[in-house]
Symmetry: D2
């Protein structure tokens, strides 16, 4: 078993705030992306090459969602807590909890599909699949329904 959650701190910028005075709904997905990259780099699934955004060409995002619980403001520090919640044949699902001072302000999910060399969906390479399964927040046996719909 490996450590399950990856925590990534985000400082809310003034330029994340829209004319409503709080962080725009689309920015939450940018925050989740920072969590996703940190999580997958920590697991060794994407390479941490200096000066590169690491996942390019390995997988594609096919679905994202977010529930907004409390507004975020300029100057807030958000912790994105990323966990793996489902692993399929060619796809996997990550969950994001956005916390401010320990309080949950939003929760999101994303589904990623692995890409083969031809740029089309492909089975997860076995070492990637094993790593993802080991990182599951809950044992797969407890969550049969969490299988992503997106996979074949």
């Amino acid at each position: 078993m490996i450590q399950q959650a990856t925590e990534t701190e985000i400082a809310v910028r003034s330029t994340d705030v829209d004319s409503d005075g709080h962080v725009n709904n689309a920015r939450y997905y940018e925050y989740c992306e920072q969590g996703r990259l940190a999580h997958l780099a920590r697991l060794g699934i994407i390479r941490r090459e200096p000066r590169h955004v690491p996942y390019h060409g390995l997988f594609t995002i096919v679905e994202t969602r977010c529930r907004y619980l409390l507004p975020l403001y300029y100057g807030d520090r958000v912790v994105v807590r990323t966990t793996t919640v489902a692993v399929g044949r060619s796809s996997f699902r990550l969950r994001y909890e956005l916390l401010r001072g320990g309080e949950k302000v939003a929760e999101g999910e994303s589904v990623q599909v692995w890409l083969g060399e031809d740029g089309r969906s492909a089975p997860l390479p076995e070492p990637v699949r094993e790593t993802l399964v080991l990182s599951l927040a809950e044992p797969p046996a407890d969550a049969p329904a969490a299988e992503p719909e997106e996979q074949g």
Copy 2:
């Protein structure tokens, strides 16, 4: 019955593109927001005041989601086709189809909750509710399951 869908054209900017060479997943939500504002302004639910982003303080977004079907690129012109798909007591759900040259490249949804003067969720004012019901893409009788989970 009123015209159901609002079509909003978006020109993809170079700065919408990330290091993968296509539009970042978070930007789709900015595109949906342009559709949402145009749709609600066309219905008269939010005021079209010059020089103001129109919905502030009227409602809040409690959930968004997006499914990505095809990548979008710099120079693409996207049509966001926005429809009302469910109306509850204090919330309503919008759906977004993103089309490029008539081909669907993504579809999204958002759930909005109306706000009272105290900034907390409140029943939809009756004229707003009537307008939204009239704008439903499909008659409510056909879609009982579409009732947003978020409402009371």
Copy 3:
């Protein structure tokens, strides 16, 4: 002589607006970038390949500036009028006028340095230089002081 100015229309998005209620100062540079790419593509200096942001690897931006004359708001349509204003040995300078309904709301400039195959600054290829000189908004003889400081 070739047509000197390239006009690019930008629709201000709600997400360009910051908590002050008008377009954030940094966004003007995104608008200028749309003008820059359109101008250089029209001149044939950068290739218009479908689905690619076109200038990558050809040159780098070494300086930008902007003067803000009037605020921009959600829903405004801005025309970015881009002209070539100076051509040096390895660099060239572009100017941007941002117009709303014919009224100037901002003006900007950028200096670009050509890159050789080693990724370092290099003399402008002769056809590029000729094209840029032909596109100059004013004959070089009228603007000796406009020579970019950045070049050798």
Copy 4:
């Protein structure tokens, strides 16, 4: 004399990177804005109210510029070092040095004009002017030419 420079750390996000693989030129101005807000809040010129972007309505930005020395990448940590470099009757000028690991990667400037209650330019209130003069990076006597052109 008060401490002159304000240092603000920025974590470069994946979504700051454009299709060239490095931070887009416009993002540097977002980084400068984080420095500007921190500097003016530290000096007490703008109020640090929780959950508000603090300067709204006090002044407007009339000019910005940036020189790009080295590219910035995903994962970089940038320190924005902000100093006051000129104080006029109704305007003041700030300078930004962007440092990565102590190495300067960019330098920028901005000119701000104070706003009166009618939203038009107004003389700096005397306490604001005094604070800004005390924060000058170099004594005014050394920099007579630094007087912003924008002021009356």
